[in-house]
């Protein structure tokens, strides 16, 4: 169904494009004939009105040249977007092939249309457009969405693999091709060593992230993910550096001029370019983080600052012939942690979405350029060159993967298995980067540029289509899932229980890393960097009010569906139905099995989920909300019945120490929780609403206290400063209570207890500044906040 829709959409767009092209031809003919009007303003109306008294004033004019470039570019992007919509509508497609396939097909389609209608002068990509406008967004997005903790934990392996892998591939392919070129029979004698090396460097620019979406559901372990990600990230930078260096070499016209000194200088340059770029990026990252500290009153420019500074780092590095790509990557990585804490919620969402959008647009355009140049007359097909290129790409990648990983496995605590290495080898899919670099080869230096372009295109098509489509089945095959026999319901339940259990215990164990370095950095970060770069008095993001808001909505839903009645958590032995053994028919068993599979909670994924073309839809949040609310209610229910937890802790346990939380200096409470957070992994696990749960636990524990302790808390309530979010919390607390009221009847004193504790608990929570980082797990948080603000008039009655 969706495919049909997809198919019908593109003819419409083809039609649109054709119409546009026809008009452009018509107008270009018109413009050619009416040459005298060319010197006037482009609009033909003015021309007609001013100096040509003979012509009639036309009622309807067409001036396509004026808008040609933006018009066509927009049309292309729209076409690609429609294709993507169609692609995702058909649910199984994204799991079958990477999205790059789709983009290439769209590009080829557009290219075909342009070629077919013989359209003059389509917009063409040139070197400055690519390097200045198209490349930075792609690299920025890669750097920004990279999970920092696993990256830095594996940084040794990643650097080893990415840098050396790129070098080995580039040099290997280049040298092998050079030897092939020496063979007279292939007619490639005029391609010298430098050109081959250059070609080798550009063809080794891989884009493995494009295939990540394909095998996402096979639970790839974290290290493997990071290797692929890290390689993708650094690979672009390294190949561009190599490329530029070799171009510089090529410009020294005579091959014999190159002396060993030059080669050494080249290597030194390589290192300096890389490190210098990173340094620039880090500096700019810190500057932008510092500036976002002051933007609380004008949050609309926060995304602007982020983007402009990243772009500036790129440009500044390029000015000095340092690696702009590595600069922008380093800038994004540095900036992310601090910016995320400083900027407002809506800015944060905007930044994420805008980044995805920009990179998506860039990549689409590059693929369309690629399609345009595929269907065209500028090809030179040389069997030997193309075939050997393809072969050598695979061979050298295999060599580099297995050799490098063999060595690095000696030093790793958790070595990569052969299966992992196979996956890494097979994910060497080329992408937009190689094509751009090939396309931008200067024709003067490369008389056989067309051949290079053709070979590059073949490699890209081959790897993206063949490898991209088959990597999914390969990964699933390597995963060696057990035979799909029907498990009994018992087994299903117990298996899921064990999965949850395992995930839970893994969380208890935490992440293990090289503690010393990480701790030192954390201490340094905590002591100096955060003080400088993070805002003081963060806007009280009312994490608790948000939580209450979620709860209220969920509580309402749950009440309405009849789940959350007080009998749901019945006292043991009360609800035991005494009935005979029911023999369930097979259909019942089947239906039970279906119910289980579709409704059981998913195990929390610890491995990262990155999709290059889309942002995570965050479906696990609903599940998380349900679980949290259920726990909250369980606690409250058991509180009501007098024992604190279902498993029989004595009632009325006075945990005096917990009293200190709301009374003590809220600042220190916030800082305590902040310090506590550092022991967990903080930055890169967006799914852990730890502060929310701290609020919950505090509320839960506070509820254990006797009623007479409410009075001291009331004094705290009075003494509280009135700030905006405090009002918000009040209001939503009221609404929440309204929801709770309908759920369970409570004795009145306890009501107040809930009221006060919630607020005071909320207050100490509000001061915790790290909530920004940990709490970004709802997409509708922005809505939540706006909703809260709109309720502030109601507040006055309190």
């Amino acid at each position: 169904m969706a495919l049909q829709m997809f198919v019908t959409l593109s003819p419409w767009n083809c039609l649109l494009l054709l119409v546009a092209l026809e008009c452009s031809e018509a107008s270009s003919d018109l413009n050619e004939s009416a040459n005298s009007t060319a010197q006037y303003a482009p609009n033909a109306w003015f021309a007609a009105a001013s100096s040509e008294p003979d012509e009639r004033i036309s009622v309807f004019e067409l001036d396509y040249d004026y808008v040609q470039i933006p018009y066509e570019v927009t049309l292309w992007i729209l076409l690609a977007s429609l294709a993507k919509i169609g692609f995702h509508l058909y649910r199984r497609l994204p799991g079958l092939m990477p999205e790059s396939c789709l983009l290439i097909l769209v590009g080829a389609l557009v290219g075909g249309i342009i070629f077919g209608t013989d359209h003059k002068s389509p917009p063409v990509m040139d070197s400055s457009i690519y390097f200045l406008y198209l490349l930075p967004p792609i690299v920025l997005e890669g750097g920004y969405f990279m999970p920092t903790r696993p990256f830095f934990e594996n940084i040794g392996s990643i650097l080893w693999w990415a840098v050396l892998g790129a070098l080995i591939n580039a040099l290997g392919i280049g040298l092998s091709l050079y030897f092939i070129c020496q063979v007279k029979a292939f007619g490639l004698g005029d391609v010298n060593l430098l050109q081959n090396l250059l070609f080798g460097s550009l063809i080794s620019a891989v884009d493995p992230v494009a295939v990540l979406a394909v095998f996402e559901e096979a639970r790839v372990n974290e290290q493997l993910y990071m290797m692929i990600f890290g390689e993708a990230l650094l690979n672009d930078g390294i190949t561009v550096v190599l490329y530029n260096m070799l171009i510089a070499f090529t410009k020294m016209h005579k091959f014999e001029d190159i002396e060993p000194v030059d080669i050494l200088a080249g290597c030194a340059r390589f290192v300096i370019v890389g490190l210098g770029g990173v340094l620039f990026g880090v500096v700019f990252g810190f500057i932008s983080a510092f500036i976002t500290r002051f933007t609380q009153n004008i949050s609309a420019i926060e995304p602007l600052i982020v983007f402009m500074f990243s772009y500036l780092s790129y440009l500044a590095a390029e000015t000095l012939y340092l690696s702009g790509i590595l600069a922008i990557t380093a800038c994004a990585v540095t900036m992310k942690k601090y910016v995320e804490e400083n900027v407002s919620q809506t800015s944060y969402t905007t930044i994420k979405y805008f980044m995805k959008m920009l990179s998506s647009v860039s990549e689409t355009l590059i693929f369309i350029f690629m399609g345009v140049s595929t269907v065209g007359k500028n090809h030179e097909w040389n069997w030997a060159f193309v075939c050997f290129t393809l072969a050598f790409c695979q061979i050298w990648r295999a060599i580099s993967v297995f050799a490098l990983f063999y060595i690095s496995n000696q030093f790793r605590t958790f070595p990569f298995s052969i299966k992992d290495q196979c996956i890494i080898f097979y994910s060497g899919v080329r992408g937009a980067g190689s094509f751009s670099l090939a396309f931008l080869l200067p024709l003067s230096l490369f008389p056989r540029k067309k051949m290079f372009v053709t070979a590059t295109l073949v490699v890209i098509y081959f790897t993206v289509f063949i490898q991209g489509i088959t990597i999914g089945p390969l990964v699933r095959y390597l995963d060696v899932k057990k035979t799909n026999k029907k498990e009994s319901i018992n087994e299903e339940l117990h298996i899921r229980l064990m999965d949850h259990l395992k995930a839970g215990i893994e969380d208890v164990c935490g992440h293990w890393s090289h503690y010393q370095v990480r701790d030192k950095f954390k201490k340094f970060d905590h002591r100096y960097l955060r003080k400088i770069l993070i805002r003081k008095n963060l806007p009280k993001s009312s994490i608790v009010s948000l939580y209450k808001k979620l709860e209220m909505k969920q509580a309402i839903e749950m009440v309405e569906t009849g789940i959350l009645s007080s009998t749901a958590f019945s006292i043991p032995h009360q609800a035991q139905r005494i009935q005979g053994i029911k023999r369930l028919s097979p259909e019942d068993v089947e239906s039970i099995r279906d119910i289980l599979t579709s409704n059981m909670y998913q195990v929390r994924q610890r491995t990262l989920s990155y999709n290059k073309y889309n942002l995570k839809p965050q479906t696990s949040e609903k599940q998380a909300k349900e679980i949290l609310i259920r726990r909250q209610n369980t606690l409250r229910e058991s509180m009501r019945k007098g024992h604190s937890l279902p498993w029989g802790k004595p009632a009325g346990t006075k945990n005096v120490r917990y009293l200190s939380f709301p009374y003590g200096n809220p600042q220190s409470a916030g800082r305590d929780t902040k310090a506590a957070e550092f022991s967990d992994d903080d930055s890169s696990d967006p799914g852990s609403p730890s502060i929310m749960f701290s609020a919950l636990s505090r509320i839960g524990s506070l509820q254990k206290q006797e009623a007479q302790e409410i009075i001291p808390m009331k004094s705290l309530h009075r003494g509280r400063k009135a700030f905006n979010s405090g009002y918000q919390r009040n209001t939503s607390q009221e609404e929440y209570l309204g929801g709770v009221r309908s759920v369970a009847l409570r004795p009145k004193p306890l009501f107040h207890a809930v009221d006060e504790e919630g607020e005071s608990g909320g207050e100490s929570e509000g001061k915790a500044s790290l909530v920004e980082v940990q709490s970004r797990w709802t997409a509708d948080r922005g809505h939540g906040r706006d909703h809260n603000r709109s309720h502030s008039p109601l507040l006055q009655k309190k």
Partner: protein
């Protein structure tokens, strides 16, 4: 706070813990580090609050029960040996363990039987050695979304108990539990790679 590096000397009874749980020295050090990181107020033991601060457990359907399993017999605190003892259940089973099985020594904590026993205890809250239908129902409720009606849940609980129950007492004993999972690769399911 001082230096964060743990030394073996800091861990009390390191040797006896190692013998009991089978952890390597490096793993024990890491676990001690983690223990100290979780122990917010440097009390020397962990309370429920400390474990509840682990955010990811909050959204685990079994989070509460996992936390509770660290506090056997109603105690309020767990010290480092107790902490490690629980985690030892999840140590991967290596072949050397089964080969050098000394019949006189107690079974290692990460044997299949002990792993299953740990999982069994998650169900069996009242520690009577059986999973009653009610307990099964409670676990089901925890693990299933809100769309499933109470009646469906009861059906499922019935069916689950019925499948495993062999002696007809309406509850699943540990032996029956083990039997129902004999085909499952429990060792692999309940092993965490990093806990070598």
């Amino acid at each position: 706070m001082g230096s964060r590096s743990s030394h073996a000397a800091v861990i009390p009874d390191a040797d006896s813990i190692r013998r009991e749980t089978g952890f390597s020295q490096a793993s024990l050090l890491r676990l001690h580090h983690r223990f100290r990181a979780l122990d917010r107020n440097k009390k020397g033991y962990l309370s429920r609050m400390d474990l509840q601060q682990i955010g990811a457990l909050a959204v685990n359907p079994l989070g509460d029960r996992i936390i509770e399993s660290f506090f056997p017999d109603g105690s309020q605190q767990v010290d480092f040996p107790g902490f490690v003892r629980v985690l030892a259940h999840f140590r991967p089973v290596e072949d050397e363990d089964t080969e050098t099985q000394d019949p006189k020594k107690p079974e290692p904590l990460n044997s299949r039987r002990n792993k299953l026993h740990y999982a069994f205890q998650l169900y069996d809250l009242d520690r009577d050695g059986k999973i009653s239908r009610h307990e099964m129902l409670q676990v089901l409720r925890l693990m299933v979304g809100v769309q499933v009606t109470e009646e469906q849940l009861e059906n499922i609980a019935d069916r689950t108990v019925q499948e495993a129950d062999e002696d007809g007492d309406g509850a699943v004993s540990f032996v029956e539990f083990t039997k129902s999972l004999e085909k499952m690769d429990v060792e692999q399911k309940m092993s965490i790679r990093i806990l070598k």
